[in-house]
Symmetry: C2
Subunit: 388 residues, 2 copies
């Protein structure tokens, strides 16, 4: 396999944009990435397009990528439309990296776009169901309830409190306030978070990621060819690992955590130890879930994420900043774009160009992006390690 | 890149199965492929899942592959959901081959499933629209009309007649009658085809592929490892090329044919000449379109497909049998499964196990699978060359 580097990234602001289309947002992200990378559109040899819900939301079910890419100058190349719920973005990124690493192509684009606001909230919420058969028909069970159950277990085991959870949402709202691409830029107070509408105890509205529209893109290239296009900083793709969950069978009382399995493989492939990670964007669809993800990613031991947070270590100026962008709860979570938004953030952090929410001189960054559920396990989880 | 071989294939009968689910059909195809290949479920290291329309038809929009694969014994591996309209199946196959060729994994599964019959024909037809914005909102233009325009041009240029078109549908209905997996097994007469309901002149109902449910799967492996699993015949993946169309811009009056561009690259990568092809499954969504595809694939010159057909060369016992399975019009066209159905057919032909519709001792087989449209061009076209 050949060395792969990210030579360009681009993203739109995430938010509620009723007047923007998938094509409009996708092309903004693509053209920013093209400009950032120094390539011409004709240099791009293959494109991975991620989107999760357009079929149900806009009615565009088939060949979504080709519809978005038309008139972009990117015709006549393989376009692979991929989907993995909230992990669609890194599924696209992994595909683009594999094309380049394998030698199939030298320059690949990954772009993720999602439009959740369509003027019909009920339609958007129906589209967000993970398993139409089980969740909607059999259980009436939504993913907010699933996260709430995980958090209640964590409270019981490690003494975490609802007030602590609120403080994590506050941290991320502060980070988001420094990020011009974030959907939510108001700094929240603990009281505001605790007093916002209850969603599924202990979760309140301001702890949860909201619906979002947006797009993000990355251009990857062989290390060898990259200097033809850019004299700027190269960000190495040290590893990008994706797995579906293990799916419990009747009688399985304990199976390994999928995030941990994926993370171990990502660290090993990247030749690093978890303690080498300097900055992380994790999949905190609900802000306090950040604690669980830090532990599952082995950034600290079981139950230790509480102290890590209390000591300020996960803040922008801490030694292991987590979600400096604001994370899903503040930056926003346009499903198929989220993974590439995380990649874009980490590329900016490693280049030192993240602006007001820049962390101190990181050399190794991580993203964790998970999506969907099949019974009690994640449907798709990925961990990507990027190095300066 | 490493040599990739197909070690197992499996498919369901295609047809109208109101009582079958995506999971049920998908797992039948997978388990037939597993049995055929000699692998165990736990040997499969990565899975590509193709489906085009379940979001709109069954309501299952996200993580379709994981939903189908659950309880199959295939947990804990990367599952990549891909979509490329009617070319989704070979998009999945190409992905599986790239994983193995690149060295990322040694054993990969590609499975395609589609369920078009849902008891609501209007819903199925709406889902089949290629570009919701342009076709439905702006033009009211369906893909049958697009094929009819192509055929009328061909009639004018080369003197093809509607009666000739009907005879191609008859040939394919005969092939389908010999294929137990085919949706339509009745041998049609020229009169029946011509007198069937007009769809879009010159197309009549019996020239067109109909809605279909079904699944097909293939397991690919490195040549090196394949003998751990099977002592059966190995089918080499000589090439598998996928491209989106070139998308005309205002002022483009003539651009190269995408099928021809893709075919040239596939022949070159496989190190063969078009005349080396012994059997072909082409994307004849409308039976007479087979003529155009043969020419675009360079199996004969421009306008020469008429004589090739008249001389009986494309029949099962001809020297270049085309669509021995019955093709899309007789075997059926379950969108996301079609490409893998073609691969399965060619694997059986090369092994000499196709049964009543076996062609004489082929050594090189080809599939052409195309899907979707963006303006006047194909959204995704692939050509796969398999060798004994």
């Amino acid at each position: 396999m050949r060395d792969v580097v990210v030579i360009g990234v681009g993203m739109t602001k995430f938010g509620k944009f009723l007047d923007r289309t998938l094509q409009d947002m996708g092309q903004e992200a693509i053209w920013k990435a093209i400009e950032d990378s120094g390539v011409q559109a004709r240099d791009i040899q293959v494109a991975y397009f991620s989107n999760s819900l357009a079929g149900l939301i806009t009615g565009q079910e088939a060949v979504r990528g080709q519809i978005v890419l038309r008139h972009s100058g990117l015709g006549g190349i393989p376009v692979i439309n991929v989907e993995n719920a909230c992990a669609s973005g890194t599924t696209a990124f992994r595909g683009a990296c594999l094309e380049v690493a394998s030698g199939a192509y030298d320059v690949a684009l990954a772009v993720g776009v999602e439009k959740l606001f369509c003027g019909d909230t009920a339609r958007s919420l129906r589209a967000l169901g993970t398993n139409s058969e089980i969740e909607l028909a059999m259980m009436g069970f939504q993913f907010t309830a699933y996260y709430a159950l995980q958090l209640r277990k964590y409270m019981k085991e490690y003494g975490a409190t609802k007030e602590l959870f609120a403080r994590i949402a506050v941290k991320n709202s502060y980070n988001g306030s420094l990020n011009p691409y974030a959907q939510h830029q108001k700094v929240l107070t603990v009281e505001e978070v605790l007093n916002s509408r209850p969603i599924s105890d202990p979760l309140t509205l301001y702890m949860c990621s909201s619906m979002s529209d947006g797009a993000a893109a990355a251009i990857v290239c062989t290390r060898k060819k990259s200097r033809q296009f850019t004299s700027g900083p190269l960000i190495n793709v040290a590893s990008c690992v994706l797995k579906a969950g293990l799916y419990r069978k009747p009688g399985d009382t304990s199976i390994p955590n999928t995030v941990t399995l994926v993370a171990r493989e990502a660290y090993e492939k990247a030749g690093i130890d978890p303690k080498d990670v300097n900055v992380a964007e994790v999949h905190d669809a609900m802000a306090p879930v950040e604690l669980l993800r830090c532990e599952e990613l082995l950034l600290c031991g079981k139950g230790e994420a509480i102290a890590m947070f209390e000591q300020g270590r996960t803040q922008i100026n801490g030694d292991i900043p987590v979600d400096p962008s604001g994370g899903l709860s503040a930056r926003g979570h346009p499903v198929g774009a989220t993974g590439l938004g995380q990649i874009t953030e980490i590329v900016w952090q490693l280049r030192g160009t993240a602006g007001a929410h820049q962390v101190h001189n990181p050399r190794v960054g991580l993203t964790q992006n998970s999506g969907g559920r099949v019974e009690e396990d994640t449907a798709a989880t990925s961990v990507t390690i990027l190095k300066k």
